[in-house]
Amino acid sequence: MKHSFLEGNVSISDDVIPLVSTRINFKDFMGAVMVRWGINRDNYRISPGLYAFGNPDQESDVFVTANYKLTFDNLRKNLSGLDGWILVLDTKGVNVWCAAGKGTFGTIELVNRIKLVSLEKFVNHKRLILPQLGATGVAAHKVKEETGFNVHYGPVRASDIKRFIRDGYRADKEMRRVTFGFKDRIKLIPNDFIYGKFYLLGAMAVIFLISGVSSKGFSYKDFSGEGGPGILKVFLAYFSGIVITPMFLPYIPGRHFSLKGFYAGVLVFLILIFLKFTGGNVFEIISWFLIITAISSFLAMNFTGSSTFTSLSGVKKEMKISVPLQIGFALIGTILMVVGKFI
């Protein structure tokens, strides 16, 4: 497939290096939008290797990145007006940070890629600029030992690259910090929303089946009467865990994500009560409380994977307490709902 970001080639003695544009066009933009919604996600990659941008020569900088197209686009659009080289590692179409965690954006791949493209033929200096978050997979001193190239960890965000270079390859404290602001969190929601669809459909199916049960046995009439509102409540619980909790993460009390999700679920439940949407039966009300908070809490807990500040030890500790409670809530809630039908 011909990529729209290619502008031609540059020839350096016998080698032909693809020249990439530093502009993002409509196709790149649409691709990014689709990928955020989980469409074509696993295919959104470019070929690893060496690329040129601007009008590079032997003194130009070399920027190392991942072969996830979204990551690549984000880098090249922040290089406009500069000249240089981009060395794309084979990270299996995964972004830098995640790939570094898995080790695909790693020392071995970097060392091999430098040798494979014979980088020393194109530059006469030994500077490589890596995104700081690649450090989780790359040991700078090992790269130096194996290839002679010096790894300079650039800023966390590509948008700070120009400032980094202007300041003499130095990043200040703020450029080295990962943030997790409102905008960062919002961007993740579509993907998580799609990612959790099986949980949603599963829970909806259970509620739908239960809605058909009554003291008179199993009836299709009850399905249509109660099934709809039941499914809507499950959807709101899902929304609470996957949209509300991430959006208001810093403002919801508690440190445990599952606790934050629980609170968000309580809020949704209270709104439903206020709207007289939970039925009059005490069993039904309690069961909805348990089910909504369990779903919301579980999904909010999953947001730990998308966040940028949770540790493995912390998540393990959180799950030891939360998962048994979530399962207990969901089970008791389901049982009460069925029991309520027979009283």
Partner: protein, 99 residues
């Protein structure tokens, strides 16, 4: 904005100040400003902000830092348990805004 902090007193990060040569590399790679340099030694100053990514330990030439690194991701831990392996994250697109 105020930095977000997860659970206190859980991280497995350790720094041996006697081994440290003060090169400053850990300060550069840490995305949460956990270290500071003073008196030619690195010090842990924000332990509870550590996310156990492992970048500091991997890039310390003299191996003065140890940390049980891994992904702080509930779905990853569940996957790990189901498959009886290390936690592996499906890694939602989360971190792709970084370069």
């Amino acid at each position: 904005m105020k930095d977000l902090m997860y659970l206190p007193d859980v991280v497995t990060l350790n720094l041996c100040e006697a081994t440290c040569n003060g090169c400053g590399m850990c300060l550069k790679v840490c995305p949460h400003g956990v270290f500071e340099l003073s008196g030619k030694k690195a010090h842990i100053v924000r332990r509870d902000y550590c996310m156990e990514c492992g970048a500091c330990a991997l890039n310390c030439q003299v191996q003065a830092i140890t940390v049980n690194s891994g992904v702080g991701c509930a779905a990853g831990i569940i996957n790990g348990i189901l498959r009886n392996s290390e936690p592996t994250c499906g890694c939602s697109d989360s971190k792709s805004n970084c370069c």
